[in-house]
């Protein structure tokens, strides 16, 4: 029990340390709040250009939602958490190495995943803050209206999805300590997931094999579920099945992620990989 308290304290210390360091790079801190808009607007403009406006009866007929902006925005918002997994968690240990502090923290009496977990906590809070800011701004500018009746289910779905993504994050972190060109893996995974997840369109428009692939991603269920509860999108998969699959996915991804991390950590310490750079 005291061991768990110790690890939780270390996870939080990691989280707080990261806030403190980030806070000292203020321009970068601000950039992180503004940058998402830069990436978001092409989606909107594209949508406007194709539809000749914001609303689409075709979108309505296949999804039950006619507002392209609201529809796209939710998918985009949820995908922000992919950064947490692939980049923030993934690069956490490499960043320590770049500071020169990696060996100092690796000789501390906590398991090495604790640092990745601390980064997950930090990045989730950080990303959450950015999302609240974006949601507030976009909602105001476009006068979006969301349904709030299913808000607790929205939270449940997001939490389950996040835990699945943490599995991915710990896996990427594993690659960083066992592989020279870890970012190739990170880049490939995040691109793949971004392409396959139905961010700005319904699942049904994807080619069949991509639809099948999408069913293994927590982000797919996250976006479908959240859009259903906030916008009233017709569910392509029943709610109990969404929850069930999210749970299966999170168990599998976390298990695989941890196993890979532990394997890579041992492999790295056998080969002396970390001290090579």
């Amino acid at each position: 029990m005291s061991k768990i308290a110790h690890y939780l304290r270390a996870i939080n210390a990691e989280n707080m340390k990261e806030w403190r360091i980030e806070w000292k790079y203020k321009p970068d801190f601000i950039r992180q709040f503004l940058e998402p808009f830069v990436y978001l607007f092409p989606y909107f403009l594209y949508g406007y250009a194709l539809l000749g406006g914001r609303y689409s009866s075709h979108l309505k007929s296949i999804t039950g939602v006619d507002d392209m902006v609201a529809y796209t925005f939710i998918g985009y918002l949820i995908m922000g958490f992919l950064n947490t997994a692939c980049w923030a968690m993934g690069s956490s240990l490499r960043k320590e190495q770049w500071y020169g502090t990696l060996e100092a923290i690796f000789v501390a009496p906590v398991p090495r995943w604790v640092y990745v977990a601390g980064m997950a906590l930090h990045s989730t809070c950080h990303q959450g803050l950015i999302m609240v800011f974006q949601a507030f701004l976009i909602t105001t500018v476009f006068a979006l209206v969301f349904k709030t009746t299913g808000i607790f289910l929205v939270l449940l779905i997001v939490v389950l999805m996040l835990m699945g993504l943490y599995g991915l994050g710990i896996m990427v972190a594993g690659f960083t300590i066992g592989m020279k060109q870890w970012w190739v893996i990170s880049e490939a995974l995040s691109t793949l997931i971004t392409v396959v997840t139905p961010i700005a369109y319904p699942l049904a428009v994807l080619p069949i094999f991509l639809q099948k692939a999408a069913l293994f991603l927590p982000t797919t269920y996250g976006i479908i579920g959240v859009r259903h509860f906030l916008l009233g999108e017709k569910l392509a998969i029943s709610l109990p099945l969404i929850i069930f699959r999210l749970i299966v996915i999170l168990v599998v991804w976390l298990t695989v992620g941890f196993a890979l991390f532990i394997f890579m950590d041992r492999y790295g310490r056998k080969k002396g990989i970390l001290s090579l750079y």
Partner: protein, 326 residues
């Protein structure tokens, strides 16, 4: 009472079985008693850092065993880490964007220092290292010496009984290097009673600080004893030193009778040839024949051996390869 650090038949190779295989640690055994200040002395590439990394669980050895404070590094790595403070990497091992207090608090949390003791512990360490008035200044704004002091404080945050110190004075200015040596010896070892494993390639450092010294070369320990006894082991030998102008390689030197060891270093434009011998006069007459056409001799003297000469004599290797860091 069991020894604090027990290393038994330890092996650690890199690029094992492939071209360019490095036998970084090649069958090393030794024990460090509680309260001892133990020195690992050897030139660059001897395997000192690799050995420290194996003890501190950063590397997994290929074979052999290590026990620290009674815990096996393979079976109980977290317990081992709780018992040790590892000083490596110097000033880079801190978060430069954070203040000393923020750094120390972070490490205190990692080490599970009880919350109600953290403030007291940090206050103590900051005043011990004379950093009180810099407690809230970002590390990047501190002088190099202060950063070094802070990294010492960081290593002590959980009050570990055992310290592993890798080349503590490398790159420091002479004044500060002396401070660090005194601190390790008088404060950490003598006053606080810490068991210390220190690595260095500075002979004087090992000679002045350590209770016992192990000579390490090419992954092996060639001799292990107190500095006094190591020096006495070649007491019947003398050192013939020739100071000269001009280049001379060790490899060019012929095998001469009465030449027991050879070390060539360069300092301030001069070349120093230091030869261990049991008969300096005979050796001199032979050496002069060989060198007179190659270099210009400046002075010749006969001295008693330093610990460095003992190292050269026992391992056949020079501590200062090419004398680059002299």
């Amino acid at each position: 009472m069991p020894a604090d650090i027990v290393v038994d038949a330890l092996y650690k190779f890199f690029k094992k079985g492939r071209p360019g295989e490095v036998r970084a640690v090649d069958g090393v055994s030794f024990q460090i008693e509680k309260g001892e200040l133990f020195g690992l002395l050897g030139p660059n590439g001897a395997g000192k850092t690799t050995l420290i990394k194996c003890i501190s669980t950063l590397l997994i050895p290929d074979a052999g065993s290590i026990r620290v404070a009674g815990f096996d590094v393979n079976k109980d790595p977290l317990k081992v880490r709780q018992q040790i403070g590892v000083l490596t990497g110097g000033e880079r091992s801190l978060y430069w964007k954070l203040t000393p207090i923020e750094n120390l608090r972070y490490f205190a949390a990692l080490y599970g220092v009880p919350r109600n003791q953290v403030k007291e512990r940090i206050d103590y360490l900051l005043s011990l290292m004379e950093l009180k008035d810099k407690a809230h200044t970002r590390v990047e704004k501190l002088s190099s010496g202060m950063k070094q002091k802070l990294s010492i404080a960081r290593v002590l945050v959980h009050n570990p009984p055992i310290l592993l110190v890798d080349e503590p004075t490398i790159g420091l200015d002479p004044y500060f290097a002396q401070f660090v040596r005194n601190f390790i010896k008088h404060e950490l070892n003598q006053r606080l009673g810490k068991t210390i494993l220190l690595t260095t390639h500075y002979m004087d450092e090992a000679d002045a600080l350590c209770d016992r010294v192990a000579f390490m070369n090419q992954g092996r320990i060639d001799a292990l004893d107190t500095p006094t006894r190591l020096k006495r082991s070649i007491i019947k030998k003398e050192i013939l030193e020739i100071k000269c102008l001009g280049e001379l390689q060790k490899e060019e030197f012929p095998a001469l009778e009465n030449l027991l060891s050879l070390n060539i270093t360069r300092l301030d434009g001069f070349t120093y040839i230091r030869m261990g011998t049991d008969n300096p006069e005979r050796l001199l007459s032979r050496v002069i024949d060989f060198i007179q056409h190659r270099v210009k001799v400046y002075s010749v003297q006969v001295t008693s051996p330093s610990l460095e000469d003992v190292f050269v004599y026992l391992t056949g290797a020079s501590l200062r390869q090419g004398g680059d860091d002299a």
